[in-house]
């Protein structure tokens, strides 16, 4: 058990996997000599050499496709997409090639590749470098999608992703890279298993990534007896864990960084509602970001993402009335 930063947990997971399996390799923009734009590959070039740790040109389509080909031919490539938005120039290789290759080979090959991408708002990177884009990849049979929320999950789930025989998309909240936390390298986590961060009886909160910490703080400050579930895996998500929890609490709220329209949370709400409709005590709902491009101004961005205060306000209202609370922009009369 050691305390390390989120980014160091990533480095450790990569290093430990590369030590255990010579087929694991890493490439991306400035991941080798510069040790990663976010210092998530410190020491890897030095330890594993330039065959297994490589800098690429600015060519996401090419190096994502190269990961597909390398994975098919026996390597376990991990690639880094610096900001998740850059998948917009490479998506084809991930969702139309990698995710379908096993199907289109009649099961005669696997594509054990990992695509790591930093995501999320809060650092003032603006509209094109701050999004959390699960929706680009989440409805893709053949592709697993996980989202890290703390140093421990960064270490354990990234290792699980690298060991996974199929393509895995890993979202890393950029805002957490510097966060410190305890990491037990002997803990293994399974893709597809949610993490119950806190158990409670009043309401089930399902969240992901950097929102988990905010939810945790909201629970502590408010004293609301909520059960907090870090979904951790979006595809395939842990239906059983959420079902069990909501059976107990009778209430569900999803707190997500995605926009109000079209975020991943609706999948959770829709699925659970269809299953547990008769045992729900109140309207399941989502707390999301507004339907706007992500603003740069700190004054605006700090409100863009769901805040502790707003989560408390909405939880309190929902528990009191059983109804969906207003969003903050409705409550403050700023926008519909």
């Amino acid at each position: 058990m050691t305390v390390m930063r989120f980014r160091q947990a990533i480095v450790s997971a990569l290093a430990d996997e590369m030590r255990e399996d010579s087929k694991v390799m890493l490439f991306g923009e400035d991941v080798a000599h510069a040790e990663g734009p976010f210092k998530t590959s410190e020491g890897l070039l030095a330890e594993f050499g330039s065959l297994r740790v490589r800098d690429t040109p600015i060519s996401e389509m090419a190096f994502t496709g190269a990961a597909v080909g390398a994975a098919i031919m026996g390597m376990k490539p991990v690639i880094e997409i610096m900001f998740m938005e850059f998948l917009g120039v490479a998506l084809d290789q991930l969702v139309t090639e990698a995710a379908k290759m096993r199907y289109l080979s009649n099961g005669t090959l696997s594509v054990p590749m990992v695509v790591r991408a930093s995501c999320g708002s809060g650092l003032g990177f603006g509209s094109q470098h701050s999004q959390t884009l699960e929706n680009w990849v989440a409805a893709t049979p053949g592709l697993k999608v996980i989202h890290l929320s703390d140093p421990q999950s960064a270490y354990s789930l990234l290792r699980a992703a690298i060991q996974d025989p199929d393509p895995v998309m890993v979202l890393e909240p950029r805002n957490l890279y510097g966060e410190r936390g305890e990491v037990d390298t002997s803990i293994t986590m399974k893709i597809g298993k949610a993490r119950t961060i806190r158990s409670g009886n009043a309401i089930t909160i399902v969240s992901l990534g950097q929102m988990v910490n905010v939810c945790k703080a909201a629970i502590e400050v408010s004293g609301i007896d909520a059960e907090l579930i870090d979904l951790a895996t979006i595809v395939p998500w842990d239906r059983d864990a959420v079902l069990e929890s909501v059976k107990k609490t009778g209430r569900l709220v999803v707190v997500e960084e995605a926009p109000e329209s079209g975020g991943w949370g609706s999948e959770i709400v829709a699925t659970i509602t269809a299953q547990l409709f008769n045992s729900l005590k109140g309207a399941p709902f989502r707390i999301t970001t507004p339907d706007v491009p992500i603003p740069y101004s700190g004054v605006l961005e700090s409100r863009f993402i769901p805040t502790q205060d707003d989560i408390i306000r909405q939880l309190t209202h929902a528990l009191a009335t059983g109804e969906k609370p207003k969003t903050w922009w409705q409550a403050e009369g700023i926008s519909q």
Binding site: M25, A62, G65, G69, I72, Q93, E97, R102
Partner: protein
């Protein structure tokens, strides 16, 4: 009946078998439209009559440990690499005996034992994938070579540019073959591309490049061998432009009426089948009689293949749900 692996190997040095395989591809492609017309296959299909010499010439100089990333226009390369006509036609007809068990269809040929990576229906997608296969070879110190085969139109997609640059900067063992059949769908290459010799684009990556006569299997074999040898011995990638011609339309419904008068006829004079026949007749390996016999028996063979595929069972509903995820045991 020959096994796929023996089909993979028997064309390597025997001109007669190479000719026979080219003939197989031609006769195979010629029966596809009727098969669609008869309602035995669905969707569209992309035929390669006129491009047989490239397919067979390429396959004949590869080791079975080398891999090829090809396209939706892949029947010929699949057959050349050794896939049986049953596995190719079976796939086109969506039967379980197809190389993809019937879930792929005409655009998705694959046989990992024979080195045929799943063909992609996305223009240019195979270029980075072949580059990645070569990356695996280089990283593991294996002396295999990866080949990407793509069309003239594909040289205008971003993946072509990025893939070639990446292969060049890493000196990967990959050979890029642009099968320039003059058309991308219904557009003549000169209407979408401001240069004549597409292989010149390799200059942007400081990569060796040359054109070959794609209608002459011997020219194909020597040109491709040179590039494969360079790749295998650490010399890095090469871009080859094979000058061929698409005798048929782009896809099932295309009559190709947009072709300038006389263009097809001019190219038909250099029909790769004829070119090979003439060469083998000159060498005394073939006679007009033996050619007629081979064509006749090939027709019969393929009629039997069609019968086999027609009778072959459809996939069960469960098939739709298989081969999406790798069973845990297969993983470490």
């Amino acid at each position: 009946m020959k096994t796929a692996m023996s089909r993979r190997q028997d064309i390597q040095n025997d001109q007669l078998t190479q000719y026979e395989r080219m003939l197989e591809i031609r006769e195979f492609e010629d029966q596809i439209i009727p098969i669609f017309a008869a309602g035995l296959a669905r969707g569209s299909t992309h035929l390669c009559q006129g491009q047989e010499a490239l397919a067979v010439g390429l396959a004949s100089v590869l080791r079975h440990t080398d891999v090829v990333a090809a396209t939706y226009r892949g029947h010929g390369i699949a057959l050349a690499l050794g896939l049986t006509p049953e596995s190719v036609l079976g796939e086109i007809m969506g039967k379980i005996i197809g190389c993809c068990g019937g879930v792929g269809g005409t655009m998705h040929m694959c046989d990992m034992d024979l080195g045929l990576l799943p063909t992609s229906a996305i223009i240019g997608a195979g270029i980075p994938i072949a580059t990645g296969a070569a990356l695996a070879f280089q990283t593991q110190g294996i002396d295999s070579v990866a080949v990407a085969v793509f069309g003239d139109g594909a040289t205008n997609i971003g993946a072509f540019h990025e893939g070639l640059n990446l292969a060049a900067i890493w000196k990967l063992p990959v050979v890029f073959i642009c099968d320039n059949n003059v058309y991308g769908e219904y557009s003549r290459i000169n209407t979408t591309t401001p240069i004549e010799d597409l292989h010149m684009r390799a200059e942007s990556y400081n990569m060796p490049h040359f054109a070959i006569d794609g209608m002459d299997i011997s020219a194909v074999r020597s040109g491709v061998s040179e590039a494969i040898e360079r790749a295998r011995t650490g010399g890095g990638p090469t871009l080859i432009e094979a000058k061929t011609y698409r005798f048929a339309g782009h896809s099932r419904t295309d009559q190709a009426l947009y072709r300038p008068a006389g263009e097809l006829e001019k190219w038909l004079e250099r029909d790769p089948i004829k070119v090979t026949e003439n060469a083998l007749i000159a060498q005394g390996i073939l006679t007009h009689e033996s050619i007629q016999e081979m064509k006749a028996s090939m027709k019969v063979t393929l009629e039997n293949v069609l019968a086999t595929c027609t009778q072959a069972p459809e996939p069960s509903l469960a098939k739709m749900f298989e081969n999406i995820w790798t069973p845990a045991k297969d993983s470490r």
